[in-house]
Amino acid sequence: MINQSPVLVVVIPLIAAFLTLLLGWWKKGLCYPIAVLALALSFLSSLQTLHTVVTNGTISYHLGSWPPPWGIEYVIDHLNAYVLVIVSLVSLIVAVYSKRSIEQELPEKIVYFYCIFLLQVTGLLGIVITGDMFNLYVFLEIASLAGYALIAVGEDGAPFASLNYVIFGTIGACFYLLGVGYLYISTGSLNMADLAQVLPDLYQSKVVLVAFAFFMVGLSLKMALFPLHVWLPDAYTYAPSTVSGLLAPLMTKVGAYVMIRVLFTVFKPDFSIELIPATAILGWMAAGAILFGAVLALAQTDLKRMLAYILVSEVGYIALGVGLANRNGLTGAILHILNDSFMILALFLVVGAIMYRHGNREIPQLRYLHRKMPFTMAAFVIAALSVIGIPPTCGFFSKWYLILGAIDADQWVFVAVLLISSLLSVILFFRVIEHAYLEPEEEHAGEASESAIAIEEAPLSMLVPIFVAAAGIMVFGVFSGKIISTVIQFAVPGYF
């Protein structure tokens, strides 16, 4: 059973997805427990997988015992196992959170919601675990199709935003597929490890170069890297709260993971860094993303939309770490995959809770929220401090490594970009905190007396996941040294 843990991570949510559909017709109330149970089991198997990888090194799992390069192979090394645990943990937290929020927002679609929710998680986990280029495409499409459907059931603008996402997402996936095709006609293989062995002799080939370009553009679309981020703000603003809570932290991070895989495993670093300046271009695009996301976030009055633009900027951080292409930069990028998942998770869950209680998320309307929802807002402040980068929270450590990486690479412009964006996020979040915590002077003497504002905290099933996410931010901050020494230092490709 333990030997099978890699495949169980993916198979459990997949089977549970169909189980919810069957049992949901009989009893609606069963969907939520099945989803939570399946994701908990999936999380446990991913922990087991991580444990095996840390003690015994890379796992190679042959599906149906067909030996690679013919059969599909799951390859789990430190990077995979680490992202796998993040994806399964975040989706478990969101699943626990979803109950009340879905009952309010989509009361008649509960059964279908959990079915597609589990398929979405299956897709994300499959992308991370697989060692086969075409299998990755299939999982990418499973995740994207589930994502389109989940976003489309949101509030007023959702179907239109989702259709926009369908178009951009399909272009991205098709470019990825073309890249796979070009690699296949030049090497005759689809297995990542096999490709990595065969490709170095073909690095001068134009076909391989075109394949690489297709991969980069396709994956940039999927991870919403500036200037290809246009689908993201609308889609994540109008999606149901739970869906933004699931997709915003994970979809972009998984895209970033695939990019790291393609840049440094399928293609060797000496191709991506020296032969063509792919990482340098990526670095400059990322710097653009960081500034652009932060500046546009300033212009928003809708809290969720502001967070969506912050996400654009956070994707930039990860891409910048990859683009720096040195040990510190990549450590920062891989650490930021974890930290940012939890920061964005906490922020979107808090917005969901505010929506659940007040049905309004305009920043000027957040007044007195610290007294109505004290615990939720405390979690918001922790996540905000982490995005800004204040030391005990985890956001500080990944930014620290990114800045060290930028200094190592002698890229002082990137150092400046990172510092400026920290200052911009101070402004961003203090604007929210000012409205939520400080009372306006002129009304102070007026009708709003101290006792008139009763506590209207979010229900416990929402509050606990929010607190787990906020606690995660603190814990990963305190133990970031341990995380780096046990997992991330092995996850960084050996070349560096």
């Binding site: 299939v138 239109f160 369908v166 095709g181």
Partner: protein, 126 residues
């Protein structure tokens, strides 16, 4: 130049088809036309994959169809490469699902705005 185009005409057709689809996805204002664009785009990719599998004088990749019926002696060079076909079967499934999801979303869009023109929807949403 012309020789090159003629000898690799399958790739040129795929590129032209793909660009037609791409133009429809980006340039057309009508949402259903955009979806048709998606479909043309994906079909072009299928054409590309399938045409890479073809071989001059190649036969079906089933042993009974082999030249000379030598069931035990399999010469890869005499068979069409079956792998791209298999990949495309999967890709067709993905394509059909994309089409289904996109059409379902378009129906929802039409119910809300009573139009399928992108610019009119944007005007309504303002």
């Amino acid at each position: 130049m012309i020789d090159q185009i003629v000898s690799k005409y399958n790739y040129w057709i795929y590129i032209v088809l793909m660009m037609i689809g791409f133009y429809a996805m980006i340039g057309k204002k009508n949402l259903v036309k955009k979806i048709i664009g998606i479909n043309i785009f994906q079909t072009a990719i299928i054409l590309f994959f399938v045409s890479t599998a073809a071989k001059r004088g190649g036969t079906l990749p089933i042993i009974e169809h082999a030249h000379g019926h030598g069931a035990q002696s399999v010469h890869a060079a005499t068979y069409i490469n079956p792998l791209p076909h298999v990949l495309m079967l999967t890709a067709i499934v993905v394509m059909v699902s994309t089409l289904g999801v996109a059409l379902a979303i378009v129906i929802d869009v039409y119910r809300r705005y009573e139009t399928l023109e992108e610019d009119e929807i944007l005007k309504l949403r303002r």
